[in-house]
């Protein structure tokens, strides 16, 4: 009896690492890989909610339809517009903020904590408050603008300003994330180049421009990659504030996908959006990672 137990123990010890990884790996397989593969299958079938007949094979018909769908084709440049704004502004402001927060002064920790609150706050809560602030007649933002002599803006209520406005909320929320990444970079920078430049008589701005920023570039690039992925698939803020409106003026790919799947129940069609969107994100990530490799210091 003891012998059997010992043998089982030996067996378990021998394969322990595999056995420890297996449950998590199977779970991830079930909740990540299965849905993606199932989506591929659905995207080539005529598939709608509640249908009782066997789905009919369609081949690439959903994709053909998608690539000629005016709403989808308009959503692509709109998504990229939002993404470019939602990456550039946080990266620039976040980098500047990191330089500010890397100095040493009393109360720094507290200020930094306050600065990082937006990115951890519940997105739906944030979106609701912003929406009240955007109100054209009663909103506090137009009032503040009027105090400095700027005529009221339409914010999310006009099709030409809705995307920049949403990108502003995105920037407000995610600049701290960039700041923290760059701040981490600043903390791990070697001190010698800065010291050497300082001894050579470089001014503060020259130090930043020619020494610190080039050394920080790999970290900034990481921030750009993560921010791009997140901005591209941004959902909560846009959906809660505008639901894609006015009209379709803020309907990004992700909102289009949501509406196709859960408002119109075009499951097969929506699945083809999933696949195209997935490929788009992968493509963008690969491109950014290649750029990163080329520009990285090592």
């Amino acid at each position: 009896m003891r012998d059997v137990r010992r043998r089982i123990e030996l067996y378990l010890d021998h394969h322990l690492f595999t056995l420890m990884i297996l449950p998590a790996a199977l779970t991830l397989l079930l909740i990540i890989a299965f849905p993606l593969l199932y989506s591929v299958w659905m995207s080539v079938h005529e598939f709608s909610m509640g249908a009782t007949t066997t789905p009919r094979f369609l081949g690439a018909a959903n994709y053909v339809k998608l690539l000629s769908d005016k709403r989808f084709l308009e959503a692509i440049p709109r998504t990229l517009y939002f993404t470019v704004l939602g990456v550039m502004a946080p990266v620039v402001i976040g980098t500047v903020a990191a330089l500010g927060f890397s100095r040493i002064y009393p109360g720094r920790g507290l200020l930094r904590t306050i600065f990082t609150l937006p990115m951890m706050a519940t997105p739906v809560s944030i979106a609701l408050i912003w929406q009240m602030m955007f109100h054209p007649q009663l909103g506090v933002l137009n009032y503040l603008l009027s105090r400095v002599g700027i005529p009221p803006l339409k914010w999310v209520f006009a099709s030409n300003s809705v995307i920049p406005t949403l990108a502003m909320v995105e920037t407000w929320q995610w600049t701290p994330f960039v700041m923290l990444i760059v701040l981490g970079g600043l903390a791990s920078l070697p001190e010698e180049p800065v010291e050497a430049a300082r001894i050579d008589g470089a001014s503060y701005w020259q130090l930043i421009r020619f020494v610190t920023l080039p050394l920080l570039w790999p970290y900034i690039m990481v921030a750009i990659v993560l921010r791009s992925i997140d901005a591209l698939k941004s959902f909560d803020i846009i959906y809660v504030i505008t639901q894609g409106g006015p009209g379709t003026a803020s309907e990004t790919i992700n909102i289009f996908l949501y509406l196709q799947a859960f408002a119109f129940y075009n499951i097969g069609f929506a699945s083809s959006v999933v696949i195209v969107f997935f490929l788009l994100i992968m493509l963008m990530s690969v491109v950014l990672l290649l750029v990163r490799r080329r520009t990285s210091w090592q």
């Binding site: 990540i32 519940t122 739906v124 009240m132 009032y143 923290l180 698939k233 996908l257 799947a261 859960f262």
Partner: protein, 275 residues
């Protein structure tokens, strides 16, 4: 002495710079709190009221009276705690296994999970849960929230386990402990702070999540973010209670976030599934 005015000037400029940096955040939260504490008349006044005629808890009372807010809070708590516990149970041993065996291929999953929009998973899950009669159950919500917590926990714990010296565990094995025993009795106690951090991060992202519950939860299982979103669509103009509800939902998360702020980047690099 000649340096002093120059230094003072620098200090003032830097102070203004910091103020500008923090102003959007400070003003936003000030306004959120202000909306929740002002009487309705003040909230709908133009120009907006900065110094309220009175402070009132009426909006907070309205939140609890007009909606089953406590019920929604309970839903959020059950889903977030359930998903986080399950993710810890699966993720901590897996992270240990990966760190000790060097099978970093598993990290590929984490990368894919990080990049894929949550909606891509939702359609198949939605169909599957319907077919299995599991739609509108806590189980379905907890299972889907695993996709937020599990990759995040594995990722964060990998870092912590890599810092544990193997010699300590080897010593325990030589003393007659089984390998699994050395994991439980040596490695886990050493990374306990990491488990707390990973758990809190997973809880925060699960609590904040909107998209899974908006699709998968029926009226009775709505989590807080979904519930306050629905309040908005039905009572467009009641700003006070809405702001109060928004604040109630996000305050616990903000408090937790402050306790783990050092590790937020690691969490967001692996998780932070936004949609």
């Amino acid at each position: 002495m000649a340096v002093k005015p120059r230094k003072l000037f620098d200090g003032v400029v830097f102070g203004i710079f910091l103020l500008l940096l923090l102003l959007p955040t400070l003003f936003f939260f000030f306004w959120m709190i202000s909306l929740s504490l002002k009487p309705d008349a003040d909230n709908l006044a133009f120009p907006p009221v900065f110094i309220p005629s009175e402070l009132t808890a009426k909006s907070y009372r309205a939140v609890f009276e007009s909606s089953p807010f406590a019920r929604y809070a309970l839903n959020s708590l059950i889903v977030a705690v359930g998903a986080t516990s399950l993710a810890l149970l699966l993720g901590v041993p897996a992270a240990y296994g990966i760190a000790r065996s060097g099978r970093y291929g598993a990290a590929l999953f984490i990368l894919v999970a990080r990049m894929t929009p949550a909606l891509s998973y939702l359609i198949p899950w939605f169909l599957l849960f319907q077919r299995l009669g599991l739609s509108n159950t806590y189980f379905a919500l907890i299972l889907t929230h695993l996709i937020i917590g599990l990759p995040l926990i594995i990722w964060v714990m990998l870092g912590f386990f890599e810092d544990v010296h193997r010699e300590l565990e080897d010593a325990a094995v030589i003393d007659g402990c089984s390998r699994f025993g050395s994991f439980l009795r040596v490695a886990v106690p050493l990374v306990r702070p990491g488990i707390v951090v990973a758990g809190i991060l997973a809880f925060i992202f699960s609590w904040n999540n909107f998209i899974f519950a908006v699709v998968l939860a029926g009226p009775r299982l709505q989590t807080l973010p979904v519930a306050i979103f629905n309040v908005l669509t039905f009572e467009q103009i009641n700003w006070g209670p809405l702001a109060a509800a928004a604040l109630l939902v996000t305050t616990p998360v903000l408090i937790l976030a402050v306790t783990v702020q050092r590790h937020i980047v690691a969490g967001l690099a692996a998780g932070g599934l936004k949609g």
